[in-house]
Amino acid sequence: MAGTVKKFVIGLMLMVSVLTAAGCAMVQPWQRGDLADPIMIFDENPIEAGINEHYLDYREGSVGGTGAQSGGCGCG
């Protein structure tokens, strides 16, 4: 998965980010009703996200890049 795949995945992610951000419009405060809905919030419950991340950290070799924070034990 190294080398070429890495460049491809990172490039694709950056391209999607730039393209989607380039098309964004300024959303006014009165238009933010849907964005405030709990189902639209990333990591709406940080404790729940951290616990989930904690279980995965112990069983897989990767950390970071998810927004959630785990740790504090000898499982990393």
Partner: protein, 386 residues
């Protein structure tokens, strides 16, 4: 050109304005989490967290959790042939009562920054102390958040520093582990129903990075010798994540995420996840999630070592593997069911989360000798906003 960029940056920073509503709400959260797998690992994990607003500009959070772990691999006591660190101590993770209990205490503050150079931001500082019979960890985590462009753009700069100590009771030594994590997140509103987040993280771990309870078995003539595992004492880990959240109609949202991870031990991984959340009722949300993960093995991982080497491991986390996680989540908000006493209170929220996890590794696990791990993770939490 540089001056123009600086001017734009200054303008963006000046346009940032946060208010008390951007701080966490008063909340009491109690959760019972559990984990069971076919490797005979059982974990019960209760947590309690209280967040309280002390003024319009500051909140304080205190948290306590306990991990109660039972693991067959920790119940095994291995005398190590190759290194002179094995002991015959009777207590701790290598004895017959491995039920490990970890206590974690957390204290955090969030502060709206009203003046100075960082005016317009939110600063969060958290301290965590965790202790178990063979491991201790002290962590300080800081996060600076800026809301820009009428809150359409959020920038977050994070730094986490951990001081860990490893003192396994089947060994005579104590080793240190120091971890530095830097992160940078950008959350961008793309439209009234579409939001995106890019996450960059850089993690530098130094010190003892192996698992003291694992051993490498090597056939030497007519006997099998056991050796301590040995990992490099430094690991640089980098990850780039992208998450998208899209509102589908008035009652549903679709969340998609992809993460690429790479590190100095040649572990590369790709994670993708998709989650669909739907209101079944104004007070009931159903969530369905699917996560796929695939990784390469570390450069020093081998299915079998023929002779002692500088770096040796049997840790499945460093093997070539893939995993899938299936999640079901049900959230019930109070206030809508006036006839049911417990659900009458609109400040109450109940969440039930069930995860089914499958991991397949290229090499059988060093202890269970299984390639497939099947696990159930269940959480039940009550959130009370006051």
């Amino acid at each position: 050109m540089v001056k123009r960029l600086l001017a734009i940056c200054c303008l963006l920073l000046a346009s940032g304005s946060v208010s008390a509503q951007d701080l966490p709400d008063n909340e009491l959260q109690v959760a019972i989490n559990s984990y069971f797998d076919n490797f005979n690992v059982k974990i019960v994990y209760p947590t309690i967290s209280l967040t309280r607003r002390f003024s319009d500009s500051s909140t304080v959070n205190v948290r306590y959790l306990v991990d109660v772990i039972s693991a067959a691999s920790m119940r095994s006591h291995f005398n190590v042939d190759g290194v002179t660190s094995a002991t015959e101590q009777e207590d701790g993770g290598g004895d017959d009562r491995p039920d490990e209990v970890r206590h974690e205490f957390g204290l955090g503050v969030n502060e709206l920054l009203a003046g100075g150079l960082l005016k317009g931001g939110i600063f969060s500082l958290n301290a965590l102390y965790s202790r178990e019979h063979d491991y201790s960890s002290f962590t300080v985590a800081s996060l600076l958040t800026y809301l820009l462009a009428k809150k359409n753009t959020t920038l977050q700069f994070g730094f986490v520093r951990s001081w860990d100590r490893v003192f396994p009771q089947i060994r005579t030594w104590t080793r240190k582990k120091d971890v530095y994590t830097y992160s940078f997140n950008v959350t961008q509103t793309l439209s009234p129903i579409f939001i995106m987040q890019v996450i960059l993280s850089y993690n530098d771990s130094r010190g003892y990075l192996a698992d003291p309870y694992q051993v490498v078995r090597i056939i030497e003539g007519d006997r099998v010798a056991t050796y301590e595992t040995s990992h490099p004492d430094r690991r640089i880990r980098k990850a780039l994540g992208l998450r998208l959240n899209y509102k589908v109609g008035a009652r549903a949202a679709l969340n998609f995420g992809v993460r690429y991870y790479w590190d100095s031990w040649d572990v590369n991984s790709l994670t993708t996840h998709i989650k669909y959340q739907q209101y079944l009722h104004p007070a009931i949300i159903l969530g369905l999630g699917l996560r796929n993960y695939i990784q390469d093995r570390a450069y020093f991982f081998k299915a079998q070592y023929r002779r002692p080497e500088l770096y040796m491991t049997v840790d499945t986390k460093l093997d070539e593997l893939y995993s899938n996680n299936y999640q079901l989540k049900l959230s019930i908000h109070g206030g809508y069911f006036k006839n049911i006493p417990f659900f009458r209170d609109e400040k109450l929220q109940l969440n039930f989360i069930l995860n089914f996890y499958h991991r397949h590794s290229a090499t059988p696990d060093w202890h269970s000798r299984l390639k497939n791990l099947y696990a159930y993770m269940m959480s039940f939490n009550i959130r009370y906003h006051f």
